[in-house]
């Protein structure tokens, strides 16, 4: 299994600014994922981040708006750039479980609750 922590847990930001969210896993994992959960809605995958390669973005999400880093096997960051109130959401990081069955389960961090004024 993997235990995931995220920083910050919540933030209130001004329109036009950027926020970087950090995700730390307690073990080495192959794949990390970033999701957005808009108020009262389900989770939508933003991108998949593998160490040593560019993140793969889902339809509707672009690198200029949501740049992602994955410098090693335990850490990733997501930046929400040039924020607008529509970016107010919970952003969740997840990872695979590591090991032989790495891709068969995802573990989630507690999320970062972002409010943009």
């Amino acid at each position: 299994s993997a235990v995931i922590s995220q920083k910050p847990s919540r933030d209130i930001c001004q329109r036009g600014t950027s926020l970087t969210i950090q995700c730390q896993v307690d073990s080495q994992v192959t794949m990390m994922f970033w999701y957005r959960q808009q108020p009262g809605q389900s989770l939508t995958l933003i991108a998949t981040a593998n160490q040593g390669s560019e993140a793969t973005y889902e339809s509707g999400f672009v690198i200029d708006k949501f740049p992602i880093s994955r410098p090693n096997l335990t850490f990733s960051t997501l930046t929400v750039s040039n924020m607008s109130p529509e970016d107010s959401s919970i952003y969740l990081c997840s990872s695979d479980g590591g090991g032989a069955l790495a891709l068969n389960e995802q573990f989630f961090g507690p999320g970062t609750r972002l409010t943009v004024l």
Binding site: M31, F33, Q41, S42, T44, L45, S94, E105, F107, F108
Partner: protein, 115 residues
């Protein structure tokens, strides 16, 4: 397109009553199925998963689910709910034999357990 449908947005139920939360997915040759629970202001916690083998899967907190390939369903059940089960429940599916690990989530079902 691959999709997951949770048929009920809200399920109110009295404490100690049984409950079923329904989930259907678009058909595919190979799927992995999951149920997650999200308590207020918290992240997601895995309840149970189906990867292969027995179609009846038992999870934590007394929950179980049954994989029905012919009906493309993975309904979640609990014989007797507690107040503490009040939460949002998400069904999720990972598609494809290559298993990129990507999860597609349903819209969520709010379970409201009343005393």
């Amino acid at each position: 397109a691959q999709s997951v449908t949770q048929l009920d947005s809200q399920v109110p139920v009295f404490e100690e009553a049984p409950v079923e939360l329904r989930c259907n997915y678009s058909s595919s040759v190979s799927v992995y199925l999951f149920w997650y629970v999200q308590y207020p202001n918290q992240g997601l916690q895995l309840l149970l998963k189906y990867l292969s083998g027995s179609t009846l899967v038992k999870g934590i907190n007394g929950f179980e689910a049954e994989f029905n390939k012919s009906q493309t369903s993975f309904h979640l059940r609990k014989p007797s709910v507690h107040i503490s089960d009040t939460a949002e429940y998400f069904c999720a599916v990972s598609y494809g034999s290559g298993n990129t690990g990507k999860l597609i989530f349903g819209q969520g079902t709010t379970l409201q357990v009343k005393p």
